[in-house]
Every structure is written in structure tokens, then in C-alpha cells.
Point group: D2
């Protein structure tokens, strides 16, 4: 069912006209890096081993409550979505994980075994599974209009709990290792909800789900300041998220979505706090300017993205990051081809990671210890200002990905090739 | 087709058990007002003459991009929506205007003459008409995915212009006197749109529409900081709105939606600026806490709503408000019965207006001139702290509305009565 | 040294012309309250027992980094500040606590015993003491330019720790029962500070201070999003505050300053969270619109202040509030007479408390349980809309305070009386 | 009086060990640029001709209302400040303008002729002069506590007007060509100020000042959302600023300070609007994260700074920028050596400008016209990702500046050399 549109040979041919220049430019930057006292090979290997998950829903055209403008070749079910996810990985070679969302991804029936097998054939693994209890679906008895895990009525909570446990079962089948728990439960009016009772109900519900987790799984608690609830949300910030994770136990971790915080907050600092208290589970990457949470990663504030990775690399360097957190792109592609946005976004996140690896950490620590604010700042900028494009291209070249992502993708005319079967 | 569920007799019966207490409480506050040197009758008359428009779409259950949870008795077309709007007015007696939205309100065919006649029978007039060029509709040739009035392609702009002119025609039929122009046109990525070319295209398009206005009409330009575009919006703030209104001419005015501004901005000050430069056309009332724009008016920050009316009453008092601006409720009712939200919201706005009328303006001016900040502040609070509920109830009682809005509405069991025919 | 300008007799005389009306208006509202099924006497007693602390620095004219415009009768030392604090309490009868700040309040030498004795004669107690390690003072060896409790150098941290312990000693002398720990430590540049090391140093320093607390004392940890550090602050939000309080132990609590949070955050929800995790120590009341934290309490958003008290009263009602948190006004009076601002602010906070006491809690709970969002919202508004001024006046009348605060204060011409001795 | 610490020979010697590498790296990037179809020489010349003004007060250690931590070698008067400004220019070769601030810069008496002569000897010109009417100074009769140009009392407005005219006289002496008008006038309480009367008074006052301008001067109107006034500010945003500039006349322009806007607003879009309506006078550069306005330019969000220059270069390219706006650094250096911050900030702004010059504008326009959002975004990123450091270094090398700013500055040990005479 799933076909390989961008096989090794196609990509190899596409790379041909660029590979010489990529190699030359890589040599130049490798020398520069070497002069900084860093082994360029280590950096290249870090680029090659970097991976970020694609959410299955990310390959469909997104929208707002004001409308959605789909293309003619929208994927119609999880197999078609998987095919598009595979393409992203074939070209970028850094997105070999897909994150499923239920019940959305049951739209081709419960053929999850077949899905898994096919995905594996294309070197795709399954990262955290996501449960949707913010919408009503066919055959669903209780409505989530007034909440799911925090609903005032036990039967609604029970339904939501049961569905989360069902999602764990799907995940086990897929060899996922985590469940991401995001609920939109909250209120639109002062007084509508009793804050403390709602949180207690959340914790009670989450405990049942937590207890259903396999031994080697994690539960990721994702906070969000608002939307769809516009006055209060039960897990409204990282503070509540972490306190809940502490209560639930060591398998429970916090998940940080870049677009889910209050205006102006220092997200890299939250990253550091989650690491310090050993509760950083993962990230949902995107960018945002206003109250939204869905623009392409690094498209508006690439330096903030770099600063987040600076914390991650710092923690790795100092041995404080016990386990690499899960990364996922969580974006809505309203005006671009989702495949293109996912490719360039994955590269953008990878770029931030590599730039953070190039920070002269010993110098940074020296300046920090001596309160040399200016040189500490410049040390970060020295790494950020570096154009690491050749490293990213070289990493893809060596792994069989496309040095020039959008160009190679467009040359294939993929959308035209599939428009007939999908429309 | 439209039936009267809440006729005078029903309401009279409902009021019976309250009227005595309402009269007594009104007497008490009237005396208090009198002691403040204000004629209570004037205030009562202001309450009775206050009016705010209901948007036709406001009586349907709203939603977010995450889902919508409709009731079983959703109105299915403009006639059913009109019936619900009429109910709001029958009970509140302060919402005798309805604002239509096209093409949404063509869903019962183009029976606008019939609609108008029926509405008139229920004492409903039509306020500004709204044109939708942010969604694609059946039979529409060009897509608004990348904009409407600002689109890079002339044929798309022309389609959007033509549709606006069509809306003016509908409005003429309905005896509306204004067209509200809100476009979501903008961009999601830095670079996507050339800011200055887009604004020039907007102005060129708007000029054609402006020139199609009847002599006694206004064009209301509504700004919005973001959504559905998340990086830039062509009419992003009151500054751009007013500059465009100035360029277009004297029939063009700015419309201020309380939820469409940047965080923290002083909305009452924008109100004052729009009055000062003679460009205040109207308001869309709602409340919001985060990046949203759809909660019930005055439900989160009633004092801000009061301060806006303080500017309006001040301008009226000083003769600077040449024409009363148009008021409309622009809310999304996701978790309440829309009729109940509209009734209580209309009352909330009316309350702010009446409180603002009770400000001792001469004292306020004296304190302002003498930089007595504390007493100026207290003078506003003295009016705001007053519980003017009896005045609002008395005004309704005299006009044949319900003293107790929600109670009288619920006693009828309206939703049950219509659920069968509507589902 | 401290004189009584507003003695009982003066206030009694001032009240004379108002007392009749106050009693009448109180009777009216008492009847209304009674009709709501609430005992008006209970409410009156709550008003009478309400108390909020005044910070000693609050009676001086504040300023910004752009300038300060003092009056001619500024208090010149802690005894004169205490005199002004006493006046606030003589008139309001609800501010019988003063919060000292060191080393500022050592400006009259270390005559704290004398200060205490005098204060006690005027029925003033001492609430939490505050330690200043964000400025450099004469005789101070190490500079706090780059931090105090989190400084990279041990000798600076030790100095800051020692000073906090010194403050505890002062507090013991005064019979204070808490130390409020606010530090401005942070950074202005990405990279300047290692976030996790800084927090570790904070915790290590705070532990030493914590261990120096008497058995019946509390340590209040106050967070602040920014200022004076503009990129990061070590205790940046309630999440970090609470996690630190948990680590330090049961005497450590979080203190919530209304102006120290990110834009748009739901402060009443933070209140609820702090109660739920048993870490609510106290409040610093003020109001703010932008990034500031110093305007008069309730002057911009009185409904938010009411919603915070709604959480406090709810917790009291449900038995979850084990100990009443400490309240303090934390404002900067730049354009008003500080005594007037403090009086009206204290009354504003008291008003919110009394309004919250008038919420029909059983009805509210019923609506919450049944997801009747609209009626839950209206239930809160029903209490908020009540003009409880007569209750506040009656409470003052019975306690010997002034029914009309500003009027009685101004009639005395206090500033003129003291201007000579103070200038 | 002013000595040259960093003369050509010193800098030449400092550059020696770097110049070979700088040349080599410049060659590499020049080739890359050439391959992009852009003449690298043009870019180098743009870097060489770039200039940004230094404010005289910027070389002193800044502070907050919580404290200030000066160094031991603070400049004590305008001559010493000028010496430090000269150093910034000697090393960067891109800051040959100084902006004075009165009455602050009269602290060495009114020796402005001598100051001008000395500055000219060091190739320093004078950009816009700034008038301070937000503080009270010795010998000043009327207080600005409640405003200056907008004060309710004529005598205070007259004093402020007269002082602005005095500043124009100083500026004429210095051959400045503009007066920057920033007033902190506003209010801290709702009701304190009548918004419309205050703006009318502002306009009346500004007209008198405007009429005193020499023919070839500009008046720059600078808006600010808040601070020192915390509820309202008379020129609160670009909308009010531009409307006032339009009313005053063609010599009046708007000045955009990056830190003076509401959270989240799109500053590059404001830039575009000001250009489109021909009212862009100048910029005050800095960076900020919260409600502040004083961090080092580009230190937190370098991409935003790039996007602003993208608008400026776009307007230049399309012939819409009739006159280059004035650039100035407006920062507060609380934790760094001000000279170091100013040097690296000037370089940061220059970097953004050069990156913006490297945008492939024809490609960008093509993508914009075709709504290829992704490629438009990538086109900007392609320029931003370029490490243009060698271009900036080469430009300095050719002009006699230091290739390595901080290193060359620190090697001199300037602070040690002057500490004795200044302390």
C-alpha cells in the first residue's frame, strides 16, 4: 500500500550536482571547528544521530476555526499519512519516528500490526502515542463538552480513562514507549469549575492510567496555558505539570510544548528546571508569535530554539541529562505543503542542536563563574552565528538523505503524482 | 415561520412575583442617585434607550479548532437564528438589532425580503452587514487561502470586492446602514507577504467597495492582531485601521473589537483616540484573557468595560461624540446556551453604560484639572461600585422585558420545545 | 516621638455627620443579605476582623528609574514612617500590622525595642520582616551586582545569608513570625548565568537561612518574573517557588505578589494551586497593567482581586485553608499621598474579601457540579455587583475608624501640620 | 581634555595577528556571495558606510529603581562620556555620531562649542538632541510630577516648551539636525487624566516646538507603551505617534524604539507602516524580553532585528525609503562595561543590516507574488544563516577599526588606566 517515492537512487541522483560543493563547504567549516578545539567528526556524528518525531496528523493541511484550505492530495487515512511521513524521513534522514494520535489514526480500521510492519520496512519506529479526549467521536457515549479526565461525572472520567488505557494497548502493539497526556479540560467562565476539585479529579484519573503503563513506559504530561478552554486549563503551566508528575511517580514526566506558555516566559529556563528536577520527558517543537502554537519551528525566533538546545547540551555535557528527551514537531501547516514544512522544520531543530554542540562550554563556564556577562553572551553568539548548513547537508549526504531538501522534493512532483488517487 | 415564544403576557406573568421588589429596590437606588445630584429618571431613560446588536451567528453554539459541542436544538438557518435573536430581545428589550453575515445567512436562500418583514414584525432592525472572505464557499471560483482583498492575484481580489458589493446590496434590502469589513488576510511566515504591497492592495480594493456605498452608509474597518494569520495581519491594529479610514474618506470608520488587541494595551485609550480623530464607528463587545476574543462581555474584566463606557459617556457629555457608535456582541458560546449568554452579556454591557452615566463628571473634571489622582480614581469607583441592577430591571419591566432574564427564559423550557423540530 | 494625630475623638467627630446614613444603608444591605440566606452579622464580623499589613516603605513617595517626586513632608526615618502607618490604621482599623525592611528600617539606629514598644501602644504588630540583598549599603563589603544568595562566589553568598539571619534576629525582637525572601538575582544576557547552578546555590543558601528560623516562624519565598534582572530571575514563577518551598521544608511557603507573574496568567488559579499543595504563605497586593507591579490594589482590575478572594474564602469554607495567609499591600505611590493610597487600597482589598464572603457557595457548588457555566458565573457576579460599602463603613464605625477615609484624613490637614518638622 | 587611547597604531598592532585570517575568511564568503549573484564589494561598502549613533548617557553604568552598581571609572561629565563614545567609534568605526541629552549633558557647564570642536577632531558628529522633561532639575521652577508638555497648568507646559526650544538652540550649536521628543507624561490611575484633553495639550505644545525648528531639522516623536506612567501614556503607540506627526507637518516623524511596544506586536510591520506613510524618522535599538527596553541590541532575538532591517533594505531597494532613518543604540548597561556592550551591540545591528542586504530580493519577490510561503521564508533564512562576521571584520580592518573588538579593547586595560583620575 505504501510506496517509496524517494528511494536511495533518486536521492543520489538529486545530490549529484551538489555533493562536490557540499563536501568543499563541509571541509571549510570542519577546519574552522577544528581550530576552535572541537572535533568536527564528533559534530558530524551528532548531526547524523539526531532524530525528531513526526506526528501523523502533521502531514495533513491544518487550519483554524476560521477555515481550512486543503490541497487536492491530502492523505485520507493513516497509511497515506504514514507514506508522507516516510517521505520526510527519506529526504531528511532525521525523522525516523512517527507519533500516532487516537482515535484519529484508527481511520483505516485497527490495522495497526500491518501499519507497524510497513513502517518498520521503511525504518520508521513509533514514538509516544497521543490520546484524544477533547473531541467527541462516533460511537462515543459520553460527551467531553465539559471535560474528560476532570469531568464532574464519574462515567465521563471513566470513559476517558478507559480510552487512554486503550491507547496504551495500541502503543504496546506499535512498540511505543510513552503516552502523551494532553487534555483541554478547563473552563470559560470564572466560577464554572472548582480549580482544586478539578485537579484532584485529574490526578485520580491519571493515577489509573499511570498504573496501566508497562514497566518501561513513560507518561508525558503536557501543559497548555489555554485553548480550547479560555479562562482556565487544568494543567496550565509547567508548575502544575511537574507537581502532578511528582505525585504520579517516576514514570511520569513533563512535556514542554514551546507554544503553550504565557507571553514572555523564559522557555529555556523551564527546560533547565525540568532537567534539574529530573522530570523532562520531551518537547513539542513549533514557533509562535501571539497566542498560537503552530508555526514552523525556528521560523520566528531561531535564537530561542538555540537557547533551549543550549540547556539540553549543557545538561548532557554535565551529566545531568539522564535520558535524552523525546522530540516531536507539533505544527499546523496551513499555507505550505506539510511535507516541505516538516522537512525544513526538522532541519531547523537539528541546526539549533548542532549550533548548541559548538558552544565552547569551558569558556562559557569560565565566564559564568567570573560574571563576565558580555563574554558569556558572545560565546553563545559565536556558536549561533556559525552557518552549520554544510554539516547538516553532509550528514544527510552520508546517510542517504537529500542535501537540498525542498529542491529534491519538488523535482519529483510528488503532489501531482498522487493527486489522482487521493482526490 | 418564526414564532413568538416569549410574548408580553408570558413575561408579564414571570415578572409578577418580582415586580414589587424591583420597584422597591429601584426607589432606594433612585433616592441614592438623587442625593448624588443626578436625576434618576434620566438614568432610567438611558437604560431604556440603550441597545446593542446581536450577530446572527451568535445564537449558534460556537467552537474552537479542537471541536464544537452543539446542543440538540441548534438553529439550522437564518430564520431559526432570527427566532432566537428575537427571544433575546423579547426578554432583554435592549437588543433590537441583528447583524447578518454573508454568505452564512443565505442558507435559507435569498429570502431576505421575507426575513426583513418578519424581523420588523418583531421590532428587529438590521445593523451592519458582515462579509465573509476568509472561507471558501461552494460555487466560489477563487480560493481565499492566500488572502482576499489583498491577494496577489487580481482575480481573487476582484471576487472579494464583488462579494462585498453584493453584501451592500443585501444590506440595502435590509435597510442596514453599514458594512463591516474584517479580513483575515495576512501571513504565517516572515517573508511570505510584502507588508506594504499588501496594504496597498487592501486600500485599492477597499476604495472600490467604499465607492459602492450608499450616501448614508458607513464602512467599518475592523482590525485584529492575529488569527487566522499568525505572523502578520494586514489591518493589525487601530493605527492601521484609522490610517486606512482616513485615506478612504469620511464614510469609513474604525471598529474596535475588544479581543483584537495586543496584550496589556489600554483599550479605553484607543476608544478615546478614535473619538478624538472622529473615526469611531463601532464596537464588538466580548471579553478575553489570553489570545482569544470570544468570552462573554464583562465576564472577566467588568471594570475595563466600564472604563470604555466612561470614555463614551465623557465624549457624549462634552459634545465630542458626534454620532453614537454601533454596538454589537461578538462572542462564541461554547459551553452555555447562546441565548442565555447573549442576554446576560447584553445586560452586562448595559450595566457598564449605566454605571458610566452615574460618574460625577464635574467632580471628575475638577480632580483631573487639579491632578488629584486619588480622588479622580475614587470618583470612577464610586459609580462602578454602585449596584445598578434595580435600574436595569426597572427599565426592562417598563419596556415589557423580563426582570429576571435567565429565570424567565428557563421557566419556558424553550430548548425542549423546539428540539424535535430542529434535530 | 510618635504622635497620635487621628485619635478616637477626632474620628468620632468626623463620623458624626455620616453615621446616621451609614447605619441606614447598612440596614438596607443587611436585609438584602439576610434575604440571601446569609447572616449579615457574620459578614460584618468578617469585615471587622479583616487585616492587611502595611510595609514601612509604603508610606514614602515611590518613584521609577526616571525620577521620584517626593512631597515636602516625607517621613525621614522608621519612626516617622511608623507614625504614618499608624494613621492608616487609626482611620481604616484594618491595617494593624507593619512589615519592616532591612537595612532600610535601621535608619534611626537599631532602636527596634523602642520602635516595638511605641508601635504596640498604637496597637500595631509586626508582620513578616524583609531582607534587602539587592542593593549595596554602606559598610557592606561584598557587592550584590552579580547576585546575593546565588552569587558564584561563596563570600558574597555568605554575606547575604548572614544578613538574612540578622534580619531574623530583628524579627524576633519585634515578635514577627516570618521572613520574606525576595532576591532579584538573575541575569541580563543569555549565557550569563548557569540556570541550574544558580538555583542550586539558591537552595543551599536558603537552607542555611531556613535552619536559623525559630520553630514558629515561616519563610516566605517570593517569586518575580523579572526586574531588576531582565533576562532571567532565579525564582521566576510560582513553580520554582513551590518546588523550593517543598525542598526546604514545612516552614517554607510561597508568597504571591500579584504583579510578579507573566502577562495573562490566571492568578486566582495559582492561588488555588498553592492552597492545594499547602504552600500558600501570603500575598503582596497591588495592581498592574503592563510589566509593573506597584499600582493601587484593585484600581485596575477589581474583579481579579475578587476572584482571588473567592479562592481564599472557598478554601476556608471547605476547610482546606489550614492557616490564613499573610496579606500585605506592596505598592509604590508615585502620584498620590501614600497615606491616602494605603487607606483606599486596604479598603479595596477588604471589599473584595467581603464580596467573596457573600458568594452563595452552595449554589456555586451546585452549578459547578452540573456544569452550569452561566449560572456559576452569575453567582459570582451576584456577589461582586453588591455595593458593600455600607458594611465596610459600619465595620469601621464600630471599631472607631473613619467611615469616610479620605475626607476625614484631609480634614485634618496632616501634611501641613508636619511639613515643617520633616523638611 | 579628551585623550585618544585607541589610536590607529594601537589598533593596527592589535589587528596584526588576525588580519591574515580575516582576509582569508572574507575571501571565502566573498566567493559565496558572488555565487549568489551579489557583488561582495557592494556589501563590503555597505558595511563600511553603516553608522549608528551612541547616546552620551549610554557609556555610564545603568541601573534600575532597585539599584545601580557603577564601576570605579564612571565618566563624570560630558567630556569624559564623549571620550568613551570616541573609543567605541575608534574600535568599531561605525558609531561616528553621538546623541546628547539635556540638561544631563550640561554637567560640564555650557561648553558645547568646545565639546563640538573636540568631537569633530575625533570625527564625531552630533545626531538628534534629546530633551528631558521627565525629571526635576535644580533651578527648575515648575515640577513635572504630573506631566510636562501635557500638564494641566499652562505654566508647566510653557516651561517644558521653552526647554525644548533651548535644546534646539544647543542642537544648532552642535549641528544636530533633529530633536527627539519623548515624554513620560501619562497617568497611574483610571480617571487621573482626561485622555483627549491631554493629547490636545500635547499637540498644542508640540506645535510651538515644531515651529521653532530650523528648516532642515526633524522632530522625532517617540512613543512608549508605559513607564514611568503605568496606566496610560500620552504617546502610547505608533498610531498616536504617526497621527501626531501628520498633524504637526512634514518635519515631524515617528521614532521607533524596539522596547516600547506591547507584547507580541510585529515590530517589522510597524517599520513597514511608518515607511509607507512616509513618517519613519529613526530607531532606538535595544532588545527586551519582558516589559523592559534596555538590553543589548540583538542579544535575545537577533532574527527580529534582521527582519526590521529586511524592511529597511526592501524599502531602499524599491525606492520607497526617501531618507535613511536615524539609528541610535538606546540601552542600559547594568552588568557589563558600557563600552563593550556598545561595541558589540553596534556590531550586532550592523550584522543584521548586512544580512538583510544579502537577501535575494528578486527571488523573495517572486515567492511573494506566487504565495510560496515556504520558499519566501527560506529565502530570508538563507541570508540570516550566513555568518557575515568576516565582512564586518574586513570593513573595520579597512577603516582602521579593530577586527576583534572586545579583545583589542581589553588588551589596553582602559578602565585601569583611567580609574585614578575618575574616582
Amino acid at each position: 500500500m505504501i510506496r517509496s517515492f524517494f528511494d536511495k537512487q533518486y536521492i543520489f541522483d538529486q545530490n549529484k550536482k551538489h555533493s562536490h560543493k557540499v563536501e568543499a563547504q563541509y571541509e571549510a567549516i570542519a577546519e574552522d571547528i577544528n581550530n576552535r578545539g572541537i572535533n568536527p567528526n564528533d559534530i558530524l556524528n551528532k548531526a547524523k544521530s539526531f532524530s525528531i518525531a513526526i506526528p501523523s496528523w502533521g502531514v495533513a493541511t491544518g487550519g483554524t476555526r476560521f477555515g481550512r484550505f486543503p490541497t487536492l492530495s491530502e492523505p485520507r487515512n493513516i497509511f497515506e499519512r504514514m507514506q508522507d511521513c516516510i517521505i520526510v524521513n527519506q529526504l531528511t534522514q532525521c525523522t525516523n519516528e512517527v507519533s500516532l494520535h487516537f482515535p484519529w489514526d484508527l481511520d483505516a480500521g485497527n490495522n495497526l500490526s500491518e501499519l507497524k510492519e510497513t513502517a518498520y520496512n521503511f525504518f520508521i519506529k513509533f514514538s509516544a502515542v497521543n490520546s484524544n479526549t477533547f473531541q467527541n467521536f462516533r460511537n462515543q457515549i459520553e460527551s467531553y463538552k465539559f471535560g474528560s479526565l476532570t469531568h464532574t461525572e464519574k462515567k465521563v472520567r471513566d470513559q476517558a480513562i478507559a480510552f487512554n488505557i486503550e491507547c496504551i494497548e495500541y502503543g504496546k502493539l506499535l512498540e511505543s514507549k510513552a503516552l502523551t497526556l494532553w487534555v483541554g479540560d478547563g473552563s470559560n467562565f470564572p466560577g464554572q469549575q472548582n480549580f482544586s476539585k478539578a485537579l484532584s479529579r485529574y490526578l485520580n484519573s491519571a493515577k489509573v492510567i499511570y498504573n496501566s503503563l508497562p514497566e518501561d513506559w513513560n507518561l508525558y504530561i503536557e501543559h497548555k496555558m489555554f485553548e480550547p478552554a479560555f479562562y482556565s486549563t487544568v494543567i496550565q503551566d509547567w508548575g502544575t505539570s511537574m507537581l502532578c508528575a511528582q505525585i504520579l511517580g517516576k514514570k511520569a514526566k513533563s512535556l514542554l510544548d514551546l507554544g503553550h506558555n504565557a507571553p514572555n516566559v523564559n522557555i529555556e529556563m523551564i527546560t533547565s528546571r525540568l532537567i534539574q528536577f529530573n522530570k523532562l520527558g520531551g518537547f513539542h517543537f513549533n514557533d509562535s508569535k501571539y497566542g498560537d502554537d503552530d508555526l514552523d519551528s525556528g521560523s520566528l525566533n531561531p535564537y530561542q530554539q538555540f537557547l533551549i538546545f543550549n540547556e539540553l547540551v549543557e545538561a548532557e555535557y554535565s551529566g545531568k541529562l539522564i535520558k535524552k528527551p523525546d522530540y516531536m514537531l507539533d505544527q499546523s501547516h496551513n499555507v505550505t505543503d506539510p511535507i516541505e514544512s516538516l522537512m525544513t522544520s526538522a532541519e531547523s531543530v537539528q541546526r539549533s542542536y548542532i549550533q548548541a554542540c559548538l558552544v565552547d562550554r569551558d569558556a562559557l563556564h569560565y565566564y559564568q563563574e567570573n560574571n563576565d556577562a558580555l563574554m558569556a553572551c558572545q560565546t553563545l553568539k559565536d556558536a549561533f552565528n556559525l552557518d552549520v548548513t554544510p554539516i547538516l547537508q553532509k550528514a544527510r549526504l552520508e546517510k542517504g538523505g537529500a542535501t537540498h531538501l525542498v529542491e529534491s522534493y519538488r523535482n519529483k512532483n510528488y503532489r501531482q503524482l498522487i493527486v489522482k488517487e487521493r482526490s
